[in-house]
C-alpha cells in the first residue's frame, strides 16, 4: 500500500520535472544588448518657460571617454561601454590599460587611439562572449566580462545595481557622480536627447534607439521649468556616452526611464 503511494508520488514528481523542462520558463532567452540603432525619425519638442533652473547638476571629473566601435566588431555596445569604463578608471588605476594613459596631466581624457583602446575593446568583446549565444551580450556576460578584465589587471570591481523594477535609486546615482564614479546603464529601447537652449524656450531633440543598449552615465542635471503659475515641469537627465559619433554625448531621461539595470562601478 505504502509502496504504491510512494510510486505514485515519485511518478508525479517526475512528471512535474518533465513538465518544467518543457515549460517556456526554461527556454527563456536572456535580453541581449547590441549596437545602437537610431531610428531615422526624430521627434522634437519645444518647452516654453518664463524661468528655468538647471543649477542642480554634477559630473565626474572631465566627464568620461567616449569611444566608437572599432572595425571588425559588431553588436559591441558591451565592449565599447566597457572600454569607456576601463579608460575612465585608468586615470586612477593606471595598470587597467598598461603602457598607456587614458588622460592627459590636465585630467582631460585622451582621444580614442588606434592601438590600446582597440586592444581593450577586442579583449572585452571576447571576455563578454559577444555574439556567442546570440547577437550582442547578455547582462550576465557583460558584468562577468568586465570583471574578468579588471581582475586580470590586478584590481577588484564591484557593481551596485540602482534599478529595481520601474524605480531607480536617484540619490545613490547623484552620490556616485559626485564621488567621481560612472554608471553602466542597461536600457530597453528608449530615447537619447539633445537640448538646444534659448532665452525662453528649450528645443529638445529625441533620438529613438530601437534595440536594448548599454551606455555609460557620468553626470546628471535637473531642469526645472517655471511659468507664470510656478513650476510646471521637471526633467531629470543623465549625461551619457552614446556610442555614436554625432551626438557623442547625449542625455538619457530617467523620469520616467526604461532601464533594466544600472550599475554604479566601483574599482579598487
Amino acid at each position: 500500500m505504502y509502496l504504491k503511494k510512494l510510486i505514485i508520488v515519485l511518478s508525479l514528481n517526475v512528471c512535474i520535472l518533465l513538465f518544467c523542462a518543457w515549460t517556456p520558463y526554461n527556454n527563456y532567452e536572456e535580453k541581449r544588448y547590441t549596437e545602437i540603432h537610431i531610428l531615422s525619425t526624430q521627434a522634437s519638442e519645444t518647452v516654453n518657460f518664463t524661468f528655468k533652473d538647471d543649477s542642480v547638476q554634477a559630473y565626474t571629473e572631465h566627464g568620461c571617454p567616449n569611444y566608437l566601435c572599432v572595425s571588425g566588431l559588431s553588436n559591441a555596445c558591451g565592449a565599447v561601454s566597457g572600454s569607456e569604463i576601463v579608460a575612465f578608471y585608468d586615470k586612477y588605476y593606471p595598470n587597467l590599460i598598461p603602457d598607456w594613459n587614458s588622460a592627459y596631466a590636465s585630467g582631460k581624457y585622451r582621444l580614442q587611439d588606434s592601438v590600446y583602446v582597440p586592444s581593450v575593446m577586442r579583449e572585452l568583446y571576447t571576455l563578454m562572449r559577444t555574439n556567442v549565444d546570440d547577437d550582442g551580450v547578455s547582462e550576465k556576460d557583460y558584468l562577468n566580462g568586465l570583471k574578468s578584465y579588471v581582475n586580470k589587471q590586478g584590481y577588484n570591481i564591484e557593481y551596485e545595481n540602482v534599478v529595481s523594477g520601474r524605480s531607480v535609486d536617484y540619490e545613490s546615482c547623484k552620490t556616485a557622480f559626485t564621488n567621481n564614479k560612472v554608471i553602466a546603464l542597461l536600457s530597453d529601447p528608449d530615447e537619447l536627447y539633445e537640448i538646444s537652449p534659448e532665452d525662453t524656450k528649450d528645443n529638445i531633440r529625441a533620438y529613438s534607439f530601437s534595440d536594448p543598449h548599454i551606455m555609460v552615465a557620468y553626470g546628471y542635471v535637473e531642469i526645472k521649468y517655471y511659468n507664470s503659475t510656478g513650476l510646471f515641469r521637471t526633467d531629470i537627465y543623465f549625461e551619457v556616452t552614446s556610442g555614436l559619433n554625432v551626438p557623442k554625448k547625449a542625455f538619457y531621461k530617467i523620469n520616467p526611464h526604461n532601464l533594466t539595470a544600472a550599475y554604479i562601478i566601483n574599482i579598487n
Binding site: 531615422s40 566608437l68 592627459y104
Partner: protein, 219 residues
C-alpha cells in the same frame, strides 16, 4: 566600257552568238554588281565597328569619371544608421590633398597633442564618403575640438540639431557664422565653397571661444 555600248556590240552579232554573249555579259555584270555590294557593306561594317569601338572606349573612360565625381548636383539625405566609421590614419589636411579638395581645417597639427580623423562612409557603398570628422587636441591650451565637414548638398540628420541650435550670429571675413553654447560645449557652423563646417569646442574658457577657432580656419 559602258553597259549600253556593250549591248550595241552584242546586237551586231548573229543570233546564237548574241544569246551566248548576252548570257556571258549578264553573268559577269551580276558578279561584278554583287562584288561591288559586298565591298560597299564591308566599308560600312568597318566604319560601324570603328564607331562602336570609339563609343565603348568613351563609355569605359566616362564611367569611372562619373563614379568619382564628387561635385554633386543633387541633394541627398542620410540618417545616423546609414554611416559606418572608417579610421583615417592621417589628417584632414593630408586627405584634402589626396582627394584634391580645398577643405578648411584646424591647423594645429604642429602643436597638436594628438588628432584623430574618421571618414563616415555610406554603409551600402564604402567609396561614398558622407562626412569627415576630425578631433584635435591643442597641445598648448588643452582645447579639444571636433570638426565636421560635409558637402552642402548632403543632409546628415544628426547635424540638423546643430543647424537648428546655432541661433547666435557672427560674421568673420564676410562669412556668416552661426553658433551657440550649451552645457560645456560651444558649437559653430558656417558654409564655405560648397561645404558645411561644424566646429565643436569642449569645455571652452569662454562661450564664444569657438569663434576664434573659426576665424583661424577661414583664409
Amino acid at each position: 566600257m559602258k553597259k549600253s555600248n556593250i549591248h550595241q556590240l552584242i546586237e551586231q552579232q548573229d543570233k546564237d552568238k548574241k544569246d551566248e554573249m548576252f548570257a556571258k555579259f549578264e553573268k559577269e555584270h551580276n558578279l561584278e554588281s554583287k562584288a561591288r555590294v559586298v565591298r560597299y557593306n564591308k566599308k560600312r561594317i568597318w566604319a560601324a565597328s570603328i564607331a562602336a569601338a570609339a563609343i565603348v572606349i568613351c563609355v569605359i573612360i566616362a564611367i569611372p569619371l562619373l563614379l568619382n565625381n564628387t561635385n554633386r548636383t543633387h541633394k541627398r539625405y542620410f540618417s545616423i544608421d546609414d554611416c559606418v566609421a572608417v579610421d583615417l590614419d592621417y589628417s584632414v589636411k593630408e586627405y584634402a590633398k589626396e582627394v584634391n579638395k580645398d577643405f578648411l581645417y584646424i591647423d594645429w597639427y604642429d602643436i597638436a597633442e594628438e588628432f584623430q580623423t574618421w571618414l563616415f562612409v555610406n554603409r551600402y557603398n564604402s567609396e561614398d564618403v558622407i562626412y569627415i570628422n576630425e578631433t584635435i587636441v591643442n597641445g598648448e591650451t588643452g582645447d579639444i575640438v571636433d570638426l565636421y565637414i560635409i558637402d552642402e548638398l548632403t543632409t546628415m540628420e544628426a547635424f540638423s540639431f546643430y543647424e537648428d541650435s546655432c541661433n547666435r550670429t557672427a560674421t568673420i571675413d564676410d562669412v556668416p557664422v552661426n553658433w551657440y553654447y550649451r552645457n560645456r560645449l560651444s558649437t559653430a557652423m558656417f558654409k564655405y565653397k560648397g561645404y558645411k563646417y561644424f566646429v565643436v569646442l569642449q569645455e571652452p574658457m569662454e562661450e564664444e571661444s569657438v569663434l576664434k577657432i573659426v576665424a583661424d580656419m577661414i583664409p
